[in-house]
Structures are given as C-alpha cells and as structure tokens.
Symmetry: C2
Subunit: 106 residues, 2 copies
DNA sequence: GTGTGATACATCGTAGCACGAAGTATATCA
DNA sequence: TGATATACTTCGTGCTACGATGTATCACAC
C-alpha cells in the first residue's frame, strides 16, 4: 500500500491494536501485518509520538530475560479512535467523489 | 480533516476532479471543497507532480484577459484512479480492524 | 561452542509532502 | 479608489515513514 495512504491510518491502527489488550512493539507489528505493514523504526516513532500526546502509557516488564515495553491505551487514546469515525464519514464521501461516473455534471 | 489522512487521497482526488472534463486550478479547488479542502500552494504542487508523472497534460488558454491552465487526464492518470480501487479494499479491511470490538480475541 | 534466526528495542539521516505566507496580475463592483 | 474574486507562482518550514545500523538475549541445530 502507498505510503501516503497509510499515514493517516497508522496512528489510529496502533491505538486500535492495543485497545483491547496491552501490547508491545514486536507484537503490534505482527498483529497489524495482515492489514498494514510497518517497519520497526516507524512503529517506535509512532509509539513515542502517541505517548507524548498522552494517548498511551508505558511500563517495562522483564520477560524471559528480555525487556518488554507494554503499552496501555488512555482515555485520550480511546477518544482518538472514536473521533476517527467522523473522519471515516468524510473518507466515504471522498471515495464517492473519486469513483463517481459522469452522469449528471454541471 | 487531519492532514495525514488527506495525503493519500489528494492525488487521486485531483485526478478524479478532471476525469470527466478538463479543468483548471481555481475550479479544481472549488469542486473539491465540499469533500476535501486544500490550499492553492498545495494544489499547484500536486498538479506539477502529476504532470511530471505523466498523469495529466497542460495547455494554457487565455480567458477574459487572464491566463488559465487547463489540465487534461492521461491514460496513466485514469489507471491511477483504477488502481485506487485496490487500495480501497485494503482501506476497508483496515477500517474493520480499527473499529472491531473485542469479542473473540486470540 | 558456534552460528543462525527470532525476539525486542533504539537512533540517525533522508526524502516526500502539505501548508502558510507572500507575491503578481486582471476584472468587477461599490 | 479600494475591496473582492479570479488565477497562478515561489519559498521556507515542519511533520513523518523509512532504511540502515546497532545492541542484546534466547532457542535450536550442527
């Protein structure tokens, strides 16, 4: 998928992938992969951005000798997902504009 | 609408707005306005990019003392719109991923 | 015990892109 | 005479996704 097209979806997708259950970087990438592929460097940038925006919180947990950073969504993060629904209405309208055929034009 | 979300839609939207009928900058902005607002500087950047990518051709026409640059879509431009339909399938899947509720998770 | 691949996170530089600001120029209407 | 609409252009800025590279542990094979 085109990079530009991904941009607006990425943040919300990451939030959606931790919405139901706290998760960590490596797992988020795997969960999103069927829908939207992203590199590690991209994800960690996004996670930092979302943390700075108070949309998620982090806690480090030792797991089998390795460190894992678990991300937890905040109320603001949940709001961001809710607000996406309004964006989605606009996207649907844009989609119609793009795919419309010329029948009755001015 | 969020800038990031617009990015992937803009190019295709501009192509769609000249698909049925040649058009010029100022008119394109007005036609798109109900769906997607964009500034003049943005549009003219996009038009140049699409021209460089052979997705449209330009011809200047004098209209009431002012110059107008009419843009005409090429076959490659039409292809770009057709290909968007595949992207759209992916977007729909992503939308489902984002809005899904936790009922049966792994 | 040594190599390979998976897991896990981090940093840096780059390039694409949308935008605001500012500019040029003409026509219309108050 | 000045405001508003039309019409196109250029410049600088800031955001962001990505590849490249690095660090470190664990499991498994050979």
């Amino acid at each position: 998928m085109d990079i530009q097209l991904k941009r607006g979806l990425l943040d919300v997708c990451v939030l959606a992938s931790i919405k139901n259950e706290d998760s960590y970087g490596y797992k988020i990438i795997k969960d999103m992969k069927p829908y939207l592929e992203l590199s590690e460097s991209t994800l960690y940038t996004i996670l930092k951005r979302l943390e700075a925006a108070n949309m998620l919180t982090v806690r480090s947990i030792e797991h089998e000798g390795r460190l894992r950073k678990y991300y937890h969504i905040t109320d603001e993060g949940l709001n961001r997902i809710r607000e996406f629904k309004y964006d989605w209405e606009e996207i649907l309208a844009i989609h119609q504009f793009i795919t419309r055929e010329d029948s009755e034009n001015e």
